[in-house]
């Protein structure tokens, strides 16, 4: 699939992350894996950019984060992110806004003849 233009994605990354976390708590790498999987290779993400987005969401109280409990995994520690109640409400609002956007622009851009 052709990659989506990066400009078209701007402003949607945070809603995309919230939607990904709706499927369950995850650490950064897993969030990215879910995004890649859902985007079928069409989402051109610089992977480092995900973390500033997660930090902004956490600062706004839309996600909460905790350090992963030490298990069998070796290597640096990871933080596990989960959606808060406020995050769920923001996601619902983001979805409505997106549908309105698609309906309005789809009617104009997608109209034929």
């Amino acid at each position: 699939m052709e990659p989506i233009n990066g400009d078209a994605l701007r402003g949607h990354l945070e809603t995309l992350v919230l939607a990904t976390l709706e499927r369950g708590e995850a650490h950064g790498f897993e969030v990215l894996r879910r995004l890649r999987e859902a985007g079928a290779g069409a989402l051109p993400l610089r992977e480092g950019s995900l973390y500033p987005a997660l930090y902004r969401l956490e600062e706004a109280g839309l996600v909460s984060a905790e350090w992963e409990e030490g298990g069998e995994r070796r290597g640096p520690r990871r933080r596990v992110y989960s959606l808060t109640g406020k995050g769920k409400r923001r996601l619902a609002a983001g979805r409505e806004e997106w549908l309105r956007f698609v309906n309005v622009l789809g009617g104009i851009i997608g109209a034929s003849g």
Partner: protein
């Protein structure tokens, strides 16, 4: 894993934030890069190619620094901004810090001498300013108490 510390540190070090926040950024980004590397190694079967691909996916450290900076709250960002006006006083720091092999007694005496010298310099400076005429001696000044009765036509108030 050590080779990934360099790009992570390049991205995180310039960020104006508390050390605690930066440590967290370092740990998370390092964990991410390591996971990407392992994924790519399993896919490509070659360490060097996997490393290259992991770094490409990670993105440019300079761009990441800007994004990380934007995620730091404004107050924290402001408090962590260095004040360059204070940099010039750093040359004085060795004077007031103990030298590596210096005994405590010698350090105490050196500090006392420094503060003594500082006090003398301040006092001499003040004396020179006063002698320069900005503050004429009291005998040459007209006292407001002695001028007051004549100027107002009333007797000066008595202290007794």
């Amino acid at each position: 894993m050590k080779e990934f510390m360099i790009p992570v540190d390049r991205a995180v070090r310039p960020v104006r934030a508390t050390e605690r926040r930066k440590l967290r950024m370092r740990q998370e980004l390092l964990a991410h890069l390591t996971a990407v590397f392992e994924e790519e190694r399993a896919r490509l079967g070659d360490d060097a190619a996997a490393r290259e691909e992991a770094l490409r996916r990670f993105g440019e450290p300079a761009g990441l620094t800007r994004e990380l900076q934007a995620s730091v709250p404004l107050l924290e960002r402001t408090l962590q901004t260095p004040v360059h006006a204070f940099d010039r006083f750093r040359v004085l720091k060795p004077l007031f810090c103990p030298e590596p092999a210096e005994s405590e007694l010698r350090y105490a005496l050196r500090l006392a001498a420094l503060w003594g010298a500082f006090t003398v310099v301040c006092n001499v400076g003040l004396y020179l300013v006063r002698m320069g005429g900005r503050f004429p001696p009291a005998t040459r000044r007209s006292s407001s108490w002695s001028a007051w009765p004549r100027s107002r036509g009333r007797a000066a108030p008595s202290c007794s």
